[in-house]
């Protein structure tokens, strides 16, 4: 066996130890603390906290927001990736930059954009008020902000993947008489399914966890427009630490589930990828 690196054994140990310490301090410790604080007063108070009416309504709202914005972004993301990777058209690089925009803009600013557009004093504010439509400080606003924030996840995952796969298989399918939909359904979709699932997973995690943009447009109305992250903040500000950490632990649990699912997907993904060559 040949050594692949030239670093001394001691240096290797030091480097690994530093990495582990860092991980423990910044990732493991907070996670443990969240669960620890949540269960500090025992399981009963924990259960009470997460089943309180306001908590339940926050959980329901969070699930509803994710259930609306994730499918929307799957459709947008797949359509954008398909257009970008399989066709030539003017303005393509601009579209690619636009897709990245939500990543480069502060979430608070993203939220403010929607307030500016649809708020009471916003561009469409008067018109919306006349028609008795409520977007800001209501569920539609939260959905808009969440869709905006999570837009890049699916597209970012799919574009490199579809770029790498090229368009030979799609061309083969249409040359054999398949329609655009048949080509997508039977050829493209099976080729991108793992990448797509991965993107959906990340998109979902962010949709449920988003704080900044949602905080701006939600108005923090208890039992109405509070999502889980907002609810955590409110409870914490009211010194209800058990309640805050109990709800936070649900979000942390979601993160853990996402992490495991992501690892499983990555494993499947690579397996699939290496079988191609």
């Amino acid at each position: 066996m040949r050594r692949s690196t030239t670093e001394s054994r001691a240096l290797q140990i030091i480097l690994i130890a530093v990495a582990l310490l860092f991980l423990a301090f910044f990732l493991a410790l907070p996670l443990v603390a969240v669960f620890g604080e949540a269960l500090k007063a025992g399981f009963g108070p924990f259960l009470d906290a997460v089943t309180a009416p306001d908590a339940l309504s926050a959980i329901k709202l969070t699930l509803l927001i994710a259930a609306i914005s994730v499918p929307l972004n799957v459709v947008f993301g797949v359509a954008a990736s398909w257009a970008i990777t399989k066709f030539k058209f003017p303005g393509k690089s601009l579209l690619i930059s636009l897709i990245d925009l939500p990543f480069s803009v502060s979430p608070v600013v993203s939220g403010l954009i929607f307030v500016l557009l649809f708020g009471a004093n916003g561009w469409f504010g008067t018109w919306l008020a006349e028609h008795d439509l409520k977007i800001i400080f209501a569920v539609p606003g939260i959905v808009l902000a969440t869709v905006f924030i999570t837009f890049p996840f699916v597209a970012r995952e799919l574009i490199p993947l579809m770029m790498e796969q090229g368009k030979d298989e799609e061309e083969a399918a249409i040359s054999l008489g398949a329609t655009g939909w048949q080509t997508f359904r039977h050829v493209t979709l099976p080729n991108i399914r793992w990448g797509l699932l991965y993107g959906v997973l990340l998109c979902n995690a962010r949709a449920m966890g988003e704080f900044g943009a949602v905080s701006v447009v939600s108005g923090h109305i208890r039992g109405e427009t509070n999502t889980m992250p907002l609810h955590v903040e409110i409870l914490y500000n009211e010194y209800d630490f058990v309640g805050a950490f109990a709800v936070a632990s649900l979000l942390a649990g979601l993160a853990l589930v996402t992490l495991v699912a992501k690892t499983v997907l990555e494993w499947r993904f690579n397996l699939h990828g290496s079988a191609r060559h």
């Binding site: 298989e169 061309e171 083969a172 399918a173 040359s175 054999l176 329609t179 039977h186």
Partner: protein, 319 residues
């Protein structure tokens, strides 16, 4: 009858094809031969309908198909990297063209039978349940062919069909494809940059360079009577002697007196002859020629005299 009339194509600033005219008769096996960037693949893709020309027409049996999509033209296209559907079995790949049909789709059992029949035709019977990833390069190539043939194409188009295969497999497949073309009575066009492949397989060769057709002719014509210096250089080996004279290495004889004096730089055996590399005395021009190996090999550094037996002279073209 496939007819290409005055077809032009540009990609941005790059003119890929300048006014191409070409006719392909039923049953012909035609090679589009040229270096990379010559426009041969673009022409093939325009004939297929995978790319659309900026000007000119493509006619199938007198009917203008220029605005028809590839699916409507009923052409079989074999991609360079085969483009097999990796998540489908071999049999599903072959059956794809029939199973996506919306009008007149045959019953499932018929599709299956047809796929099996095609796999037998390409000598892959029994491999229908495998996935493309489990096949060798030559087998994948034949799956791609069977898949293209399943739709009973009126024209078979192949993009560098042997490009991704190793030398031995390539040779076998070439011969087999030629046989298949004949037994099935296909009309086929294939793109290649390999002159040997074009000379061996095609009924007619279309030599292309820089988006223009340099010559169309039988392999014999293209090899023996190249229409331009480019063709002479690209198809077969050529020496360029002073005065625009092109001569093949095997069309040179050694003579005792007269002829052109050449200093011998290198000699090696190539089959039944010596391949001699040398320089024309006084010029720095390299020439290569063959000497029958029954005679002794010329000595390095000696000056020998050569006489072209068959030559072609090209005058500088006016542009």
């Amino acid at each position: 009858m496939i007819r290409v009339q005055n077809v032009t194509k540009t990609f941005g600033d790059f003119a890929a094809l300048h006014g191409i005219d070409l006719e392909i008769k039923p049953g012909e096996f035609v090679a589009l031969l040229g270096p990379s960037g010559s426009g041969k693949t673009t022409l093939l893709r325009i004939i297929a309908g995978l790319e659309f020309q900026d000007g000119g027409e493509v006619l199938f049996d007198g009917e203008d198909v220029s605005s028809r999509s590839v699916g409507e033209r009923q052409v079989g296209f074999v991609f360079q990297q085969y483009a097999l559907f990796k998540h489908m079995t071999v049999a599903e790949n072959v059956a794809f063209g029939l199973s996506v049909r919306r009008k007149g789709r045959p019953p499932k059992a018929d599709i299956r039978a047809r796929a099996e029949e095609l796999l037998r035709l390409v000598q892959l019977d029994g491999l229908g349940k495998r996935y493309p990833g489990q096949l060798s390069g030559g087998q994948r190539q034949r799956v791609a062919l069977a898949r293209a043939l399943a739709i009973e194409p009126r024209l078979l188009l192949l993009d560098e069909p042997f490009g991704a295969l190793d030398a031995k497999v390539r040779k076998d497949l070439r011969r087999w494809l030629r046989g298949l073309h004949e037994t099935m009575g296909l009309t086929s066009i294939f793109v290649t940059h390999d002159q040997e492949e074009a000379l061996e397989l095609a009924d007619r060769i279309v030599v292309m360079d820089h988006g223009r057709i340099e010559q169309v002719g039988t392999p014999e014509q293209v090899y023996m009577e190249p229409a331009s210096p480019f063709v002479s250089n690209f198809v077969g080996e050529t020496n360029q002697l002073p005065g625009g004279i092109h001569v093949r290495p095997h069309d040179i004889d050694l003579v005792a007196s007269g002829g052109i004096p050449v200093v011998v730089d290198n000699v090696f055996r190539r089959g039944g002859s010596w391949r001699v590399e040398g320089r024309i005395e006084g010029h720095d021009r390299v020439v290569e020629f063959d000497v029958n190996a029954a005679s002794p090999a010329p000595t390095l550094g000696d000056t020998v005299r050569i006489q072209p037996l068959r030559e072609r002279q090209f005058h500088k073209r006016r542009l």
